[in-house]
Symmetry: C2
Subunit: 138 residues, 2 copies
Amino acid sequence: MKALKQRSTCPISTSLDVLGDKWTLLILRDMVFAGKSTYGQFLQSAEKMATNVLADRLAVLESQGILTKAVASDKKSKFTYRLTEKGVETVPIIIELILWGTKHGPAVVDPGLLEELQLGKDAAVEKYQRLAREKALA
Amino acid sequence: MKALKQRSTCPISTSLDVLGDKWTLLILRDMVFAGKSTYGQFLQSAEKMATNVLADRLAVLESQGILTKAVASDKKSKFTYRLTEKGVETVPIIIELILWGTKHGPAVVDPGLLEELQLGKDAAVEKYQRLAREKALA
DNA sequence: TCTTTACACTTGTAATTTGCAAGTAAATAT
DNA sequence: ATATTTACTTGCAAATTACAAGTGTAAAGA
């Protein structure tokens, strides 16, 4: 049981108590935009997160009800992580990070996604939330 | 000169390289929603950030062009921090954190702001960006 | 003028967190 | 039976954070 320390009652602060680090939102990104769902898949990302940090973050995300952990349907030695509705609702945050990083950072962006976002942010949010919800049922 | 390490070219990752910690966005929150602009004011927030961490984050934010530092108009021993346009454009990210924290966290929220957000997110984003831009000119 | 206060940091040090390499353990595959 | 896959755990050095105290400069007060 991972007890999180709450620094204040400000909603921004409480959000950052959970999401405010360099790794957590990358795990959620991998689930939403890359369809990943296992420990091994998360480790393969370009940012190369350490195994112990990944294990720790997955435990926090689970204890906070952002994702669930279950034995995979194909293998008993494998676990599947799925987004809860609380997790799906981080999509707008992630989308805003994409837009800001694209505009102001040294990022290289997938042109397809960028066009989609520029065409309509709300539509893109809904699309990726829908896909994530469908994936969560599988 | 604070050199940031870039972990990948993903826009989410590059955004988190700068904003992904527990303190940076709280400084921006204080500038946008509380009109704060000095080191002393930032220290007085409910979350009680350490002085060395504040100094470090302000230096990073300045080096990344998210805010500027200038001698205050009233006192030569005082500095005023102002948001750049890059800084103003973090407002949508902060607003999404407010909405998520309000809905899913243990946060206690200002009812006025919440009503404003529920009435129309885009309008709220524009309002606080406008206020921040005006403040930056003062 | 001398002292005190206000403000913005810097420094030192202990505790915590991270990054890296290696090891463990259960379930499959060969 | 042995090897491999998958998901971690462990140990340790390095980096970061938290906490307390100190420094330096400008302004204000006696």
